[in-house]
């Protein structure tokens, strides 16, 4: 049990929990049991059925209600005399500013996305409040401690970029099921049911042959009097038949690849085989229950449908969209909880997969990939919550020497399922927690200011309400209190190239970018550069000093993430591989570290990509990474460990193992062995 001193610190503490989901429920329970008496909890989400398998404070009857509020009420039942304040709100909203954060002794994150993690990291840095960060995926978990100026901040080390696939892989040469899912979801579904004005690479690529893009546009448009069956078949034959034939006509593409097989509806379906009993079903008018599976009599979402079944689901789902949900067409966005959308995307992805010789998948699996669903279990969340509370208590007792980052492994590493790692120092050139300026290589006479704002300031620097200055001149700001002239000026600036701005941004100038809400300010040295590699530097700009993990590695992990959602589950090839890197490298690192340096060193766990919305050259699979931010973070951290171990940067000079041991044995808490060296 905690010592008297620890108990006093716990009782007197005021803590902020961000997130009342999987980790949050466990954390709130463990905090309350451990004696915490003043807890604030923020979560904007409401309860869903698929939460109930692990978010144990919630019941079926709570579905639709605020997670933060229900969690508070549930915990007050077994600890009625403590104070829990629930905020059903977005952590990014302005009420949760630096002053709000300052009232807390420690911040505890149980979040599921990168954007919010970065945001909390910045505000707590400005407020000077320590943070315990956490995350889980399946049986893997991680807990880390961030203390300003003493440990790394959440953003000190590389963040893998959001998953994106080269557009040609998606449109022409898919080799994995996830490519087919991206095509079905981001191109075909978006084209047929989404905003018609949105750029869509389906147009571009489909027009590769002789046909003009206008002609192609007509193809996807349903003609006024066209029967939905005919329309569906026409779309089917166009995307799975004609377009494949068109692609096949380019021999160069298929030199080293398996040639795809065009599929036409007449080959798969006999004319009278068509479809289910549309009229018998969904008479209730409940749109959410409209389902092609139901009308076709397909029951088990775990089954992998054959090509004919997929084709039927494709045509039936398309028909149902036009007959039952016509009003939504033109404004639909894919949603993993939209049954009909998942059915359509599963079927389309499977037909495409069949064409390219890629194994087909069940609706359950396809939904996992398309919806970027993070698999989750109660046990890992419980373990992680326990670890968070242990670290929080150390922070409250100012016991910085003993804070640790802990990994939960699925397979033991050096006999360990729970593996504590010594913390790391802040990155001296981190753009968030240090003042080191960044450098931007850019062609100032060609790059629009809008691109700078979107691709650099928002996407890479993660600012929500940016202010951009060159010298003392304001070039851009966002806010409610701007007058019309200002808004007009800033809008006009966005369309200008950098060197034509009122205060020109050219090589040798210094641009200051600030976000008042996050209280983050960074300086960017502008360096003129004429040419950029379109493939490798698609932004047409290179930000130096902002770290990012090499692309090939991300692709690898993300792809495996996607695939590891296959129902057989526990495999987790990617995490396994990661954990192995972890062991070796952690070993290597710990050898180089001296225990006495711990008090000055830090924990970190870098996170992942940014919220870039790649609209041009690549198809963003952003949310995958947002949702899986944590796993990415884990990977990034290990990569960083490896980098440090190999390059030897930033590691304190190694002390001999024996001297480290001596120091260990002189510490009061050394009754158990610490480092094996």
């Amino acid at each position: 049990m905690a010592s008297e001193q620890q108990l006093d610190a716990i009782k007197g503490a005021k803590v902020l929990m961000v997130g009342a989901g999987g980790i949050g429920c466990e954390l709130l329970k463990t905090l309350a049991l451990s004696g915490f008496q003043d807890i604030h909890i923020i979560d904007m989400d409401t309860i869903e059925v698929s939460n109930l398998n692990r978010q144990f404070l919630f019941r079926q009857s709570h579905v639709g209600q605020s997670k933060a509020k229900v969690a508070r009420d549930a915990v007050l039942k077994f600890r009625p005399h403590i104070s829990i304040t629930a905020h059903h709100a977005n952590i990014k909203s302005s009420e949760f500013n630096v002053d709000f954060f300052k009232q807390f002794d420690v911040i505890l994150n149980g979040l599921d996305n990168l954007g919010a993690r970065r945001h909390v990291n910045r505000i707590r840095l400005a407020a000077g409040v320590p943070l315990v960060e956490s995350g889980t995926t399946g049986f893997l978990g991680q807990v880390a401690v961030h203390v300003k100026d003493i440990t790394e901040c959440y953003e000190c080390y590389p963040k893998p970029a959001p998953k994106s696939y080269p557009v040609c892989t998606i449109t022409n040469t898919p080799s994995k099921f996830v490519h087919c899912i991206v095509w079905a979801k981001d191109l075909l579904f978006a084209k047929l049911f989404g905003d018609k004005n949105q750029d869509n690479d389906l147009n571009v690529r489909s027009s590769d042959g002789a046909s003009s893009s206008e002609h192609v546009d007509d193809i996807f448009e349903r003609k006024n009097d066209e029967d939905t069956d005919c329309y569906g078949r026409r779309i089917y034959d166009h995307v799975f038949g004609y377009n494949i034939e068109l692609a096949l006509s380019n021999d160069e593409t298929w030199k080293n690849r398996t040639r795809p097989k065009p599929i036409y509806s007449r080959d798969v379906l006999s004319d009278n085989q068509q479809n289910g009993n549309l009229d018998q079903s969904c008479s209730s008018g409940d749109l959410a229950s409209v389902s092609a599976m139901a009308t076709l009599g397909l029951k088990n979402p775990q089954d992998v449908w054959n090509l004919a079944e997929n084709s039927n689901v494709f045509l039936e789902a398309l028909k149902l969209f036009f007959s039952k949900r016509e009003k939504e067409i033109g404004s639909l966005a894919f949603d993993k909880d939209d049954q009909l959308a998942v059915e359509f995307v599963t079927a389309a992805a499977n037909i495409r997969a069949a064409s390219f010789g890629i194994p087909m998948h069940s609706l359950f699996e396809a939904k996992g990939i398309a919806g970027n669903i993070v698999h989750a279990v109660a046990t890992t969340n419980a373990v992680v919550a326990g670890l968070i509370v242990i670290e929080a208590i150390k922070l409250l007792n100012k016991d910085l020497e003993n804070v640790r980052m802990t990994f939960c492994n699925e397979h033991p590493k050096r006999k360990m399922l729970l593996m504590p790692v010594e913390p790391f120092e802040p990155n001296k050139s981190c753009f968030v927690c240090s003042t080191t300026p960044l450098t931007l290589e850019v062609n100032a006479s060609r790059t629009k200011f809008r691109d700078f704002i979107e691709k650099i300031v928002r996407a890479k620097l993660g600012m929500n309400l940016p202010i951009v200055m060159q010298g003392t001149s304001l070039l851009y700001e966002v806010g409610d209190d701007l007058d019309e002239d200002e808004i007009r000026n800033y809008e006009a600036n966005l369309e200008k190239v950098l060197c034509k701005l009122p205060s020109p941004v050219i090589g040798g100038t210094l641009v200051t970018v600030e976000d008042f809400h996050q209280q983050l300010s960074c300086e960017i040295n502008i360096k003129q550069r004429e040419d950029f590699d379109e493939e490798k530097e698609p932004d047409g700009m290179v930000l130096i000093g902002w770290l990012q993990v090499p692309t090939d590695t991300e692709n690898k992990t993300s792809a495996q993430n996607g695939e590891s959602t296959s129902g057989t589950g526990t495999d987790q090839a990617a995490p396994l591989e990661i954990a192995e890197i972890g062991e070796t490298e952690v070993n290597a690192v710990s050898k180089k570290r001296n225990f006495s340096e711990l008090s000055n060193s830090s924990v970190s766990h870098p996170s992942c990509g940014n919220d870039t919305k790649c609209k041009n050259k690549e198809i963003a699979f952003c949310t995958l990474l947002l949702r899986m931010a944590y796993e990415m973070a884990f990977f990034a951290f290990l990569l960083e460990l490896r980098r440090r171990a190999f390059v030897g940067v930033q590691l304190p000079v190694a002390a001999s193992i024996s001297s480290a041991r001596n120091q260990i044995s002189s510490l009061p808490r050394s009754d158990l062995s610490m480092e094996s060296g």
């Binding site: 049991l33 398998n53 077994f78 775990q302 359950f364 419980a382 242990i390 504590p420 526990t570």
Partner: protein, 323 residues
Amino acid sequence: MDGDALTEQETALYDRQIRVWGADAQRRLSKAHVLVGGMKGTVAEVCKNIVLAGVGSLTLVDDSPVTEEALNANFLITPDEKLFAGRSIAEVCCDSLKDFNPMVHVSVEKGDLSSLSTDFFEKFDVIIVSNSSLSTKKAINEKCRKLSKRIAFYSVDCRDSCGEIFVDLQDHSCTKKQVNETFECRLQYPSFAEAIAVPWKNLPKRVSKLFFAMRVIEKFEESEARSSGEISLADLPNVLKLRKELCEAQLFNESQIPDSLLERLLLGKLEFPPVCAIIGGILGQEVIKAISCKGEPIKNFFYFDAMDGKGVIEDISNPNSAS
């Protein structure tokens, strides 16, 4: 796998975890029957985890009344005397657990774990014992082993900020996946009595000190006829004396069992809730692994100490008899 497909309700509720362990494992879970004895904080955590996971049934054994102490780390008890007066801890916890997952059958068995018959145990696939004496642990473990049916046996305890899990799966076969390849693996476990009888000096040098310290405390409680946890710092001189005797008999260096560690264990009558969550989480995961035969289970001890933050697996089995 054959057998009934998961219902729509199950698929919706268990969606996220089926993505972790697969539909087969979920079906096996739903057919498994689990018995637990000794409803303290750690066991409350284990119960929560396996009820959420969707085991077929859970039976609770603990006749003791609800006391102030019982409330310490147990979130299954509402601290309102009107609600728990005259009822056993198991009965009160049962109500809360039922609420967590209507698809799991949760019930109470009255009586003392050590007096329950071998026939009774035969109904179960998993038995978890906590807060029990050395002799009770051994006796139940032996009863499990006598049955022709294979029963997974676990004992679990948290003292101060330390926790111990013991696992006996007898002869266990499972599949484990590594780098996209599935391996069959087969493990032979010693019983609790066999494991603790392994001569200490034969064990590898770096075995967790907690293993030895827990044996000393356990032996002390037995020799003084105390129930589990009925100890205090006042017992330290006698515990140190027992340590000396045990170490001499085992030709083992006493310094491997530090005074400070024994002191902590003596003080730790109350469980430390974060450690309950951690140990309860790890054990929950182990139960799921054992039932589903998926993933390599712990063989055969697990230790966590909040002091150093390590969660370590120790294999304490006699190499000659165990394989």
